[in-house]
């Protein structure tokens, strides 16, 4: 199995080739304005090493912050027609009702609410008003809308109304991109609908971006399918990512943690990813990051995306260092950083700003820049800076730990040199080869997932879990997984207060290897 993993970061585009479980080569190229040039460059420099010749590549997996940046920066967004099936309920809280006004102004192409939807137990809430759906589609057509988001009450339990409405809309608008909220997951109409609206708003950008990625790969002479990494550390085939770009929102941090797991061979550990400006601390469970508990806001919009639970602190390889003797109070590391300007502004590189990297060069930990320029830093001072960085790391790790005993810690990222070999509460600090490209490694080894989150009635707990697992398995296979490799990585059941007949909400997530790879 030969795969290329690419991480398009803010500063660098990293690419790695993995073959039979080993990192063959890792390269870095500056991220470009148009993103694809950076990918092209990184693939070119990977190709220049000769490693791509010979055997074919099984897949190219790309992690990108393209889609989330579009939402955060309010750029390249498509106007969306919002169609909700649930009248007469919830009329007081229409689609977009809790969006930041500036984003709603850009995306809201119109709101239509018609009768439809289901009850928690599968009964009809209201019959679908098909004539009203068709009428809404005609009005969307008149308004020139080409992307439609459809949501219905309890559609995660029964998506039939959303699917039927999508058919009716497609008859009127055959070229429209249509997002159904039931494809995006969980119970919670407003948050699920918000995810659908964001997804629909990314319709044009997703189409163009994925096409550009495919072209960059083809132009590099690589004949391999494209996969896009998702928030939860798994990948989607290019076609699915084009249809559901919101699932690829926040894959960078996840890829780092997955890469750390892979490079270290550990599946349960803490991970510290020290970048140039910030350090993310998270926890691996079964080889995947532990997810955040709560509602996640993206560009100010409440959603229920699967996102890793991370603690970010202002510590990195570019962090400003203020020494005690500067007379500005106590020694201070971060949170301000020189960021991507490190190679210009750091003292060892001829600049004026003392950074953690300068200190590491003075101590001989890093062999970079001009050590003579930092020779004025004595060993005692350097040790103080490192122990301050260690204290910050220790505190972050302690906050994220969920067990009392000592746990192993994997240190990755370009600033991993700041993590000492011994820390309280940590059984072992593991530095890995290629740790600075852990995110691209995480992309290369990503798997395919399937999830089921719904309410079951009148089943025993075991039967309900088995039913949910079956649905999750089918969804993973539909997303490109090899059925034989599927494993359950999360399983949660929640009995429902007030509901009769042993109602239980079950959430199961399974993952498997990409089929045929």
């Amino acid at each position: 199995m030969r795969r290329i993993g690419i991480d398009v970061g803010g500063t660098n585009t990293d690419a790695v080739l993995i073959e039979e479980g080993k990192v063959v080569r890792a390269v870095k190229a500056p991220t470009s304005e148009d993103v694809t040039t950076g990918i092209l460059d990184s693939l070119k420099s990977l190709g220049a090493t000769g490693v791509l010749a010979g055997k074919p590549i099984d897949g190219v997996m790309i992690g990108t912050t393209h889609f989330i940046n579009a939402v955060v920066q309010r750029r390249h967004l498509t106007r969306v027609g919002a169609l909700r099936l649930g009248m007469p309920a919830a009329a007081s809280l229409p689609p977009f009702c809790d969006w930041p006004e500036d984003l709603a102004e850009l995306v809201r192409g119109g709101v239509w609410m018609v009768e439809g939807g289901h009850e928690y137990d599968g009964r009809l809430f209201m019959p679908l008003d098909e004539a009203a759906v068709t009428n809404a589609a005609l009005e969307m057509k008149a308004a020139g809308l080409k992307s439609v988001a459809i949501s219905a009450i309890f559609s995660p339990l029964d998506p039939s109304h959303e699917r039927r409405a999508a058919e009716l809309v497609a008859r009127v608008l055959p070229d429209a991109a249509i997002t159904c909220s039931s494809d995006l997951g969980r119970i919670g109409l407003l948050e699920r609908e918000n995810a659908g609206l964001l997804n629909a708003a990314l319709a044009d950008l997703a189409r163009e971006t994925i096409a550009a990625f495919e072209k960059a790969i083809a132009d590099s002479g690589i004949a391999a399918p494209l996969f896009i990494t998702q928030n939860d550390g798994t990948v989607a085939e290019a076609g699915q990512a084009r249809r559901l770009p919101v699932y690829s929102f926040a894959s960078g941090a996840t890829n780092s943690m997955r890469g750390a797991a892979y490079l270290s061979g550990l599946s349960d550990a803490m991970v510290i990813d020290v970048g140039g400006t910030t350090t993310d601390v998270g926890q691996l469970k079964n080889g995947f990051p532990r997810e955040a508990n709560s509602v996640v806001k993206v560009g100010g919009v409440r959603t229920l995306f699967r996102m890793p639970d991370l603690l970010s602190i202002g510590l990195g390889g570019g962090s400003h260092v203020v020494l005690e003797r500067d007379g500005k109070g106590p020694l201070k590391v971060g949170p301000v950083s020189v960021g991507y300007r490190l190679l210009k502004e750091g003292i060892a590189f001829g600049g004026k700003q003392l950074t953690t990297t300068d200190v590491a060069i003075a101590m001989g930990v890093l062999k970079l820049g001009d050590r003579a320029k930092v020779a004025h830093l004595d060993a005692a001072t350097c040790r103080k800076v490192f122990s301050e960085a260690a204290r910050m790391a220790e505190e972050a790790i302690d906050r994220m730990k969920t067990e009392a005993g000592d746990v192993p810690l994997i240190a990755v990222g370009g600033g991993a040199f700041l993590v000492p070999d011994k820390l309280p509460g940590v059984s072992e600090v593991i530095h890995v080869q290629h740790g600075d490209c852990a995110n691209a490694v995480g992309a290369a080894i990503a798997q395919v997932s399937g999830e089921c989150d719904q309410i079951f009635k009148d089943l025993s707990r075991a039967e309900a879990l088995a039913a949910a697992q079956g649905i999750a398995n089918d969804r993973a296979v539909a997303a490109g997984a090899d059925r034989k490799s599927l494993a359950t990585i999360e399983s949660e059941d929640m009995p429902l207060a007030y509901l009769p007949g042993n109602s239980v909400r079950v959430r199961v997530r399974v993952v498997g290897d990409v089929a045929g790879a």
């Binding site: 649930g86 007469p88 309920a89 919830a90 009329a91 007081s92 809280l93 009702c97 809790d98 009850e119 928690y120 009964r123 809430f125 209201m126 009450i153 309890f154 119970i187 919670g188 109409l189 407003l190 926890q283 532990r290 508990n293 709560s294 639970d309 302690d398 906050r399 730990k401 969920t402 067990e403 009392a404 309410i455 929640m494 009995p495 429902l496 207060a497 007030y498 509901l499 009769p500 042993n502 109602s503 239980v504 909400r505």
Partner: protein, 360 residues
């Protein structure tokens, strides 16, 4: 008569404070808050009045929601349906209400009466029958006072209106109303039995909306300046920190239609090495430190996010969350012998003599 005009900022604070007073239950007030924002954008306003300013023969309606929170977040209750529940009661009882009131200040029902109040142009009384959230209808100051347990109205957005006309006690009202609620899809807007001004003055728990606003203001102010939000609550309420820790396990089961279970925590900071577990029945009921009972109902046990200071509910709390547990003092009526019969630890099946963390 003094009326306090509430700003939307007051309502935002009310939502945060009501969730804290929900003591784990009552449902997240986020959707009622969104409704209030929409009503304020449309030009509606609400006013708060004190029970003392009611005439003895004024009639007050308790307006709120009933049902499963998970259904609530799909069906999303609206102000018009809640208003219809109040109107249905007026029609049935052949009365006109002078004001509305919360059926429980804790959780979403702390905000809901204002949704109907905005449309009906009625004030909301700054009192409620719980001072928090509790899982059952008889766990109220009005039930302890022996006030009529019926009638109540239950309304669904599709034009269904039901009245539970007469029941011998609040337990029966709860049982029958639940059946109706389940038929509606496990969510309903409701209006509780009409109360007179004299009854509210005697049996209401007073100042609870103001208290929720005060707590919410403290939390939101602390969040804005990145201050300690838990400490901010304790600066405005005579509460006590019981514990700081991480969630290491949550087990839940449904029995008799309630969410029951145990939350297990592991200590952080100065509580490192000490264990805590909290039993819940929708709401947090008994907190045990190192296997000894530390705090119990009717003391309010509030589990808060250690960073944001906002409440965490028993339905949504999950493994790994970092929380601070605090206790707030209970309403006086709940610590009387009659009160403890209704809401003391034995009312929840715990063979413990009530001992307040505030009595030491």
């Amino acid at each position: 008569m003094k009326l306090r005009a509430l700003t939307i900022d007051d309502i935002e604070s009310l939502a945060v404070g009501a969730w804290v007073l929900g003591t784990g239950g009552g449902g997240n007030p986020y959707l009622p808050l969104l409704n209030m924002r929409a009503l304020y954008r449309e030009g509606h306003r609400v006013q708060l009045m004190q029970a003392a300013d009611l005439a003895d023969d004024d009639l007050v309606a308790g307006a709120g929601g009933m049902g499963a929170p998970l259904v609530g977040i799909e069906r999303m209750g609206d102000p018009h349906t809640l208003t219809r529940a109040v109107r249905a009661m007026e029609l049935h009882a052949k009365c006109r209400f002078r004001a509305l009131m919360s059926v429980e200040i804790g959780g979403g029902n702390g905000v809901r009466p204002f949704m109907a109040a905005a449309l009906m142009k009625l004030p909301v009384v700054d009192s409620d029958p719980m001072g928090r959230a509790y899982p059952e209808g008889q766990m109220t100051s009005t039930a302890i006072g022996g006030l009529a347990p019926s009638p109540i109205s239950l309304v669904d957005v599709r034009g269904l209106e039901s009245i539970v006309h007469r029941t011998p006690n609040a337990k029966w009202t709860e049982r029958v109303a639940r059946k109706i609620c389940v038929e509606y899809g496990s969510t309903a807007s409701m209006c509780t039995p009409p109360r007179t001004g004299a009854q509210i003055k005697k049996w209401g728990i007073h100042g609870t909306t103001t208290k929720a606003i005060r707590i919410g203001e403290a939390v939101r102010r602390a969040q804005r300046v990145h201050d300690d939000a838990v400490a901010a609550i304790l600066s405005v309420e005579p509460g006590k920190i019981l514990y700081k820790g991480k969630v290491v396990d949550v087990s839940r089961r449904v029995t008799e239609g309630y969410l029951r279970g145990v939350l297990k925590l592991e200590g952080m900071d100065e509580f490192r090495g000490a264990s805590m577990h909290i039993n819940f029945q929708n709401e947090w009921i008994v907190a045990w430190r190192d296997e000894q009972p530390l705090a119990m109902t009717p003391d309010l046990i509030c589990v808060l996010d250690s960073v944001s200071g906002e409440a965490v509910g028993s339905e949504t709390i999950r493994y790994g969350q970092r929380v601070t547990v605090i206790a707030l003092p209970p309403p006086d009526i709940f610590t009387t012998p009659k009160g403890l019969e209704h809401v003391g630890p034995r009312a929840f099946g715990y063979d413990l003599d009530f001992r307040s963390v505030f009595s030491a």
